[in-house]
Symmetry: C2
Subunit: 262 residues, 2 copies
DNA sequence: CAGGCATACTCGTATAGACGAGTGGGCAAG
DNA sequence: CTTGCCCACTCGTCTATACGAGTATGCCTG
């Protein structure tokens, strides 16, 4: 086992109140922040740190688990612990549903990702009628059953977003909206063709840690939160015509909104 | 030590591939989700779970640390492990900076919290001139130095938000904006009085795990992400007149935006 | 009755050891 | 040279133990 380059990491302060594993985590964090370890680079192995600090292995692992919780590092079984690379972020602008973006044949996601030089994919397509949850029912104005459209978005093979659209059956049933591929411009284009002219959207944004199911679906590393966005689309008569529930890997997104200062 | 009520938690599956500590975490998580343990309620102690499952204490603690990372529970030294209560959320509407909200003498935060029946506070007031960071400088259009206004917001004694406003010196120096208390309507009202008529805001939203400093300032429990919001205010001439950098405890906020479907 | 202390229970920190499993490189056999 | 195995190194899981420190309760003392 190669010994640790001296000077890379400091020593422990036995007089400090701070727990040993926190001191080790502090030193590793600082080294990462200062760029002594770069993105994707391997940190010293547990055994090396055990030697360097003269502590037991569980103490070192405890330090790593702190950094993992902060989303700074991730462990790979059999390989080592690595500085977590920051993925390229997808910027969602508040005008992303403007009519002018709805002209092309491909979905906004595909067009935008292609432009950014990434390889986009959409999978997990599921379209079915189901009972509306309490929340969705309230937002759509007390509907019992809805058409649900589920899909997962991937960039360069990595899942980044999982979204479900809910539409009242009297609007969607028997229309292209109920097809797996609703056609150019997506369901908003279809809604307008069907006479439901869109007036405004309302978006609610939360952030939280993912459920185990979300970790699985989005292949999330530990220490990565999700952004939970719920969008409601209203037509010009003030009726809610769609609710879209989206869960995004928070390390892959920046949301951007333009607000008038009225 | 009281023995665990039978039936509350299941048994382990020795044939399962799933690690023991994950199985225990699964069972606790499910019990919480089903409401068998309510918000704020104490979970079985480590010793009780050691007895119930016949595993070592570190294994039980490992299970708890999973649930802590998910933000489901929090431990209190000397007391026990508790289901983390969901605090009341503060809803931020996208029209919160509209002029009509700027008339009253008190800040938007105080007015809104009072209306919601909470006890609001603002502290950590710091107003000083400093060197602009690279990011702030870019956003404000290559300024070197800025006026920085820092403050922390609390609801019912709990810190929920930490914000810093940056303004170019040529706008803010020597004006009420450079005073600790800028007066009724806040700095946006002062900006308009000084002839900088606000035209629009741009808000960028990210979510991530907090830094140790943010954990301290916002007294965050583990497993609680932060929402990082950067707002830039533009005047009618298109000049950026303020950048506000805000870090919010994600469990205390829902952001809401109204978007036209143009 | 009031105050203080002892105690039991809680989680926090740390050690030492064991075995398992994924990865990758080198060496030996074909 | 290629194939396949072995081994070293990595992290993952689990046990058993020890002591420290915060909390709450009840008893004992004044």
């Amino acid at each position: 086992m190669p010994t640790l380059p001296s000077g890379l990491l400091g020593d422990l302060d036995p007089t400090s109140d701070r727990a040993v594993f926190r001191q080790i985590a502090d030193q590793l964090r600082e080294a990462i922040d200062r760029g002594r370890f770069r993105e994707g680079e391997k940190l010293p192995s547990e055994a090396e740190l055990v030697d360097h600090y003269g502590v037991s292995r569980m103490t070192v692992r405890n330090s790593f688990s702190i950094l993992q919780g902060e989303g700074l590092v991730h462990a790979e079984h059999g390989k080592g612990v690595f500085v977590r690379p920051r993925p390229p972020v997808r910027r969602l602008a508040s005008d992303r549903f403007a009519r002018r973006h709805r002209e092309q044949g491909k979905s906004a996601f595909i067009v935008e990702a292609d432009a950014a030089g990434s390889h986009p994919q959409v999978d997990s397509l599921e379209v079915k009628e189901e009972k509306a949850s309490q929340d969705v029912s309230t937002r759509l104005g007390s509907v019992r059953r809805v058409l649900a459209r589920r899909r997962r978005y991937l960039l360069d093979g990595r899942p980044v977003e999982f979204a479900t659209s809910y539409l009242p059956l009297d609007i969607a049933r028997g229309t292209p909206i109920a097809e797996p591929n609703p056609g150019p411009g997506g369901i908003y284009a279809r809604l307008e063709e069907l006479g439901h002219h869109l007036d405004r959207f309302e978006e609610e944004i939360r952030a939280r840690m993912p459920s185990p199911a979300e970790v699985k679906t989005l292949r999330l590393a530990s220490g990565v939160p999700v952004i939970h966005l719920i969008r409601t689309a209203y037509d010009t008569e003030g009726r809610a015509v769609e609710v879209c529930d989206t869960v995004m890997a928070a390390d892959a997104y920046v949301l951007s909104y333009q607000l008038p200062a009225t």
